[in-house]
């Protein structure tokens, strides 16, 4: 019996170590406490049993084994790691009705799989220990394990795995469920206050307009506005409440930092989440999909327009800010690819208010165009000082469409989202006269809402429907998506500030 006791304890300790490693990711150093409990408690109980033959100690030891096998081995190791990795990814590659599983880092998933394997050893040696204890109590020689009928054992294991994998596949599949009472609730996740208020408000208006444009639909569509405030923790609570209390069937949202918060919540609820977000990694192709031109697409379009205009040298004056930095990085790469040189490159901090020496240095480098991109109020300060320096050859990406003082940028050309249906903008401005039309978000908000509506009207699970979209003809022109991708790609357009208003160059 001592042999099996030793092997049983050894398998428990090894599995406890694996469980600890696996739990370091969600629990941090608290996982060490869990590991200590899983090692010390069984060791103490087995030591007590061996010295006293206490039934309580033996039962306690077996209960610890049961916890490790069921709680960690089967539920965590098998159901949450092994099956998603081995079966979930296979199913997702076969059919879009199965989401691609959200997997953690490699060490996390491998330790989960090893926890499952370790728990099988815990189960086996726990069983052998019980048998040996029973034989010892009866005064019989312990039965030695002999590998009998290995084919039968292997076949049984395969059948058991197939049954469990089938159960997993059944629960993993996204199926169509008709909305309760014929009402589809769509959560609109955008900030309604703070520096994002202008964008959030106009995003909401675009979605409201999309809903009011619906005619003769099978279902009613109700918007659930989720005011996520400014704090990410507050946003997480508000979104979770919308999912669990309001039972939203889908989410449309915008702005990357809130998209990142929404993504895991939408995945857990298994509802589609569209996001007008420039951070492409947010779109996973399972439940979250981004829809906005990428910085790379903006850069390609910008450089094409620069070449068309005969521009040979460029000066860059840009604010040090993540999204702007993304545009500048993509632009530099594209400029290098086509061989267009930059004569002056300056990234300024958000504390800078006097740009005159910067402008003078840029002018001295003789650029054909000044590429400027910044947020308010620095965008306006820079625009004012460029204006005073009589510099009019200015270009940008997106920024002039959101400036508070477009008159400073008269004649500036820039890339921004396309607007195939210019009537959309006109209708929007007529319907909401006091609301700013943010070209780089509004068409996508409108289109995202309509994608979800189309799914319900066709009686398809909305997440599966969006996974299957390869091409969509919307207000922002044609957007495309590669199979399995979570990012809709679209080609931006060239705009120009004319009479202090953005105008599409293609419609000049």
């Amino acid at each position: 019996m001592h042999t099996y006791a030793r092997r049983s304890l050894l398998s428990v300790i090894v599995t406890a170590v694996l469980i600890t490693v696996n739990h370091l990711y969600p629990l941090g150093t608290r996982a060490l406490g869990l590991g200590a409990v899983l090692v010390v408690a069984p060791t103490a109980l087995l030591w007590w049993f061996r010295n006293t033959r206490s039934r309580v100690a033996f039962a306690g030891y077996l209960l610890m084994n049961l916890w490790i096998v069921v709680g960690f081995g089967l539920i965590k190791g098998l159901w949450k790691s092994t099956l998603p990795v081995c079966v979930g990814t296979l199913l997702a590659s076969i059919s879009t009705s199965f989401p691609r599983p959200t997997l953690g880092p490699v060490p996390f998933e491998l330790s989960g799989i090893l926890t499952f394997i370790g728990s099988l050893f815990v189960l086996y040696y726990g069983y052998r220990l019980v048998r040996a204890n029973r034989d010892a109590a009866a005064g019989a020689e312990p039965e030695k394990p002999i590998a009998r009928r290995p084919v039968l054992w292997a076949a049984s294991a395969l059948v058991a795995f197939a049954v469990i994998a089938s159960a997993y596949a059944f629960t993993d599949q996204d199926r169509w469920i008709a909305p309760a009472n014929g009402v589809v609730k769509i959560g609109v996740i955008v900030p309604a206050s703070g520096p994002y208020a202008i964008l959030g408000n106009s995003f909401l208006k675009a979605v409201e307009m999309a809903r009011s444009d619906l005619r003769g639909t099978k279902y009613q569509y109700e918007l659930v506005l989720v005011d996520i405030g400014l704090d990410l923790a507050q946003a997480r609570t508000a979104i979770q409440r919308a999912i669990t209390d309001e039972n939203v069937d889908a989410i449309v949202g915008g702005i990357s930092r809130f998209g990142q918060v929404t993504k895991p919540l939408a995945t857990a609820a298994r509802i589609p989440h569209t996001c007008v977000c420039s951070v492409t990694s947010i779109g996973d192709g399972a439940y979250t999909f981004t829809n906005i031109p990428s910085p790379d697409a903006e850069a390609v379009q910008w450089v094409q327009e620069a070449q068309r205009r005969g521009i040979r040298q460029i000066a860059l004056l840009t604010q040090d800010y993540p999204s702007i930095h993304g545009h500048v990085t993509a632009l530099k790469a594209e400029l290098a690819r086509v061989g267009l040189p930059t004569t002056y490159v300056k990234e300024f901090a958000d504390s800078v208010t006097d740009f005159r020496s910067m402008i003078a240095q840029a002018r001295a480098s003789n650029p054909d165009v000044y590429f400027v991109e910044a947020l308010s109020p620095q965008l306006e300060l820079l625009g004012q000082q460029l204006f005073e320096a009589k510099i009019r050859n200015i270009a940008s990406v997106v920024a002039p469409s959101v400036t508070q003082r477009p008159e400073l940028f008269e004649g500036t050309w820039y890339t921004d989202s396309d607007l195939r249906d210019i009537g959309f903008k006109q209708r929007f401005e007529k319907q909401y006269p006091g609301t700013r039309f943010a070209t780089h978000m509004m068409p996508y908000a409108y289109d995202d809402f309509n994608m979800i509506v189309q799914a319900f009207e066709r009686g398809e699970n909305p997440a599966v429907y969006i996974r299957n979209i390869a091409t969509y003809e919307g207000t922002a022109g044609t957007v495309t998506k590669a199979p399995g991708s979570g990012n809709f790609q679209s080609r931006p357009a060239v705009w120009v500030i004319q009479n202090a208003k953005p105008a599409l160059l293609s419609q000049q």
């Binding site: 092994t82 990795v85 081995c86 990814t89 691609r100 599983p101 959200t102 997997l103 880092p105 490699v106 998933e109 491998l110 799989i113 090893l114 394997i117 002999i146 590998a147 290995p150 520096p195 994002y196 964008l199 915008g254 702005i255 990357s256 930092r257 998209g259 990142q260 007008v276 977000c277 420039s278 951070v279 492409t280 990694s281 947010i282 779109g283 996973d284 192709g285 399972a286 906005i292 800010y321 993540p322 999204s323 702007i324 993304g326 947020l375 997106v398 920024a399 959101v402 780089h440 978000m441 399995g484 979570g486």
Partner: protein, 45 residues
């Protein structure tokens, strides 16, 4: 040759194969789902 003497070797090889396969699957899956998370873009979008 005793069949039982091979059991630990077969088990070790099976576990190694499972882990190697899982490593490839997880790495490919994470790369396809966007890879490392970038800094949120913030105000512009």
């Amino acid at each position: 040759m005793n069949r039982r003497t091979h059991t630990p070797t077969i088990l070790a090889l099976l576990i190694a194969a499972v882990l190697a396969g899982a490593y490839v699957i997880v790495a490919q899956n994470n790369a396809a789902m966007g890879g490392a998370v970038e800094t949120p873009a913030g105000l512009l979008h």
